[in-house]
Symmetry: C2
Amino acid sequence: MPPSLSKLNGLMRSTALSELARRTGEPAISWLIKLSLDRPKLISLAAGFTDNQSLPVAEAAELLHDVLKPGKRGQSALQYGSTAGDPQLRERTLKRIEKLDDRATGFTPENVIITHGSQQLLYMLTEALCNPGDIVLVEDPTYFVYLGILQSHGIKARAVRLAPNGLDINHLEQVLTQLKRSGELPRVKMLYQVTYFQNPTGWTSPHHRKAAALDLLRKYERAAAHPIYLLEDAAYRELRFAGDDEPSALAVRKHRDRVLYAGTYSKPFATGARVGFGILPEPLRTAVLRIKGNHDFGTANLLQQLLLRALETCKYEAHLADIHARYQRKARIMTAAIKSHFPSNVTRAEPRGGLYVWATLPAGKTSGVKSRLFRTALQRDVLYVPGELCHAEDPARRKPNGDMRISFGGAADADIPVGIARLGSILRDL
Amino acid sequence: MPPSLSKLNGLMRSTALSELARRTGEPAISWLIKLSLDRPKLISLAAGFTDNQSLPVAEAAELLHDVLKPGKRGQSALQYGSTAGDPQLRERTLKRIEKLDDRATGFTPENVIITHGSQQLLYMLTEALCNPGDIVLVEDPTYFVYLGILQSHGIKARAVRLAPNGLDINHLEQVLTQLKRSGELPRVKMLYQVTYFQNPTGWTSPHHRKAAALDLLRKYERAAAHPIYLLEDAAYRELRFAGDDEPSALAVRKHRDRVLYAGTYSKPFATGARVGFGILPEPLRTAVLRIKGNHDFGTANLLQQLLLRALETCKYEAHLADIHARYQRKARIMTAAIKSHFPSNVTRAEPRGGLYVWATLPAGKTSGVKSRLFRTALQRDVLYVPGELCHAEDPARRKPNGDMRISFGGAADADIPVGIARLGSILRDL
């Protein structure tokens, strides 16, 4: 933590600030971003940014020109919309989901809510379900910004083992059994999973594992005395460049009233146009809608109209094809560089989508912010996300500290092999 | 409340929902919006919408065409920005504020944070300061969505009398004295004021009243054992069409570390492009920034670039001149119609900005959702916001129920006299 922050943290303890504010830490990501800004020559393999070159500048200009035609359509794009979001966009969103999963049917546009990025939905769902002291089960590792949300709200995370082939269902059952035994099950509100090309590992949960997780959650509901939800964060679903799509948890028909699905149009189209969405059963849909009424009473309508127009004109689909080719190429560049430069005892899976490679050091070697690897990498102007940041605080296990999240999303094609070569040389020295 | 909602509320009580979700009610505004949608011929003098005809469709199209030029500027508009917001937009925002108030100096762009509408800032500041059971002082009446935020977080509101010439400072002192006496002062975190062309009354707080309020709050800080802030919601400040601007509370130099200033570009420019901002002292600036990291890690950059470009090209200023002329005309149409059609014992002030007229019925007559006035108005296809919705629950006084918020913002010019004539005829019958 930079020294100026400790003074500020002192100030924050001595004031009128709420418990929530006191619990809300400096996000790890801000610190990483500051590191990059301070070192202009640094090659960042840390940022979860999409590729600048991939952004649909000409397409967005043309689409907005259409949206902002004189008359009613243009005016309505610049006016407030409803809190739930544009009705046509909600309908199209549902159709897209149904097209992906022929079993994910039976929802209506009423189940859809448009949000300011899917991040806002994760926040509101957590507000809607959890009191301070409640428990959310998370993948181990998981999306680190979500851990920040939990910490901020005084919610405990319990880590469930994750492998390249999905969540460890036996471990999920162990965790639930232990929570039942300790009397903590009534505090368990949901399991949070990033199911496609996960942040940080890049791994995808197969459908049968999601179904098995839902079965288990349901089994423990009686002891919990209330529903236990699966929050499926599908943020990277549309960034698939190899293999087939897995059906979402929405396709598990018998448990569909326990699935909270979070999707987004921002990552696949343009991260500067934040438009996420949720598909939510009652009473969560109503709870989130009411909370959103207080947050902002609706996502900026102009952004919604941009995305709606992109979907209507199929420019969205065409852009997806472009970025799939681009990320596939970048992933290949990165994996080829890793093969050339990393010692063979550093393991990783082949990415089939998303933005990340998760590399695991041999036992005993560490990658954390205090490790020699991280500090040397920074000196040699290359940055990755230390895996430790992606693991929840969980008293049941020692926090793993031997992984790196390496992103092929934001860095330029030519920088990827240079950055990987630098990391490889440090790894060999260690 | 519509009958279908009571079933839903039952469902919400029987589930895993959080205390926050259980406290978060159906917003009054949703119910009013549903009423309008069900009656297509209804003239709504209720909505706080800006005038559709006033929206800068051609200007926004041109500005976005410039923003989305091929190359780096276009790409960066479609990429994530920083959580605090675009540095240039923050700098310009500060300069605009300094231009309005030559005493509101000494802040840096670090004090500025860009939000998804100023509503998001109100939410985050409340999260940053208040625990359940805390107390926020509000104007009586006040912005009803803010009352929803307080209710959702289990925060008590205490009402301070408001008059056309500003907050009743003597009453503020009485309220603070009572809270000190009852030992509740440590729970008081802030005073929330909508200081320009207030929603719902249209009244503006003169600068000396804000300074006096800050003096008083400071005086009671010792007994509270922490700072007590003034949250100045200046959402309507730029919608002034008569008279001079009042300096904001930021100009009270000796208390500037107690002022939380919330402004917005959406209402004056385009409500569909949600870009609000805060000017915040430490440690609130850091607390809100961290919370925003969890909400959405930054307001949609495309919207920020649109507003930045509008400010750079002076199209924003030119648009302000347009809408001032428009709202002045609409306010005149409304006040002329009120003079012709309302009984003379219904009182109101002359609007000098904003979107609202606050009309007060003679003693003994009621305007609430259950009143004959409101029900008859609905039957005759005209809608206003019952004043009772804008008053906090406060055990210290009976909730006033004899006012109407009548908006000249959203309704078409020709509809205003028709709607007012309908209301006037019902008022005369009563």
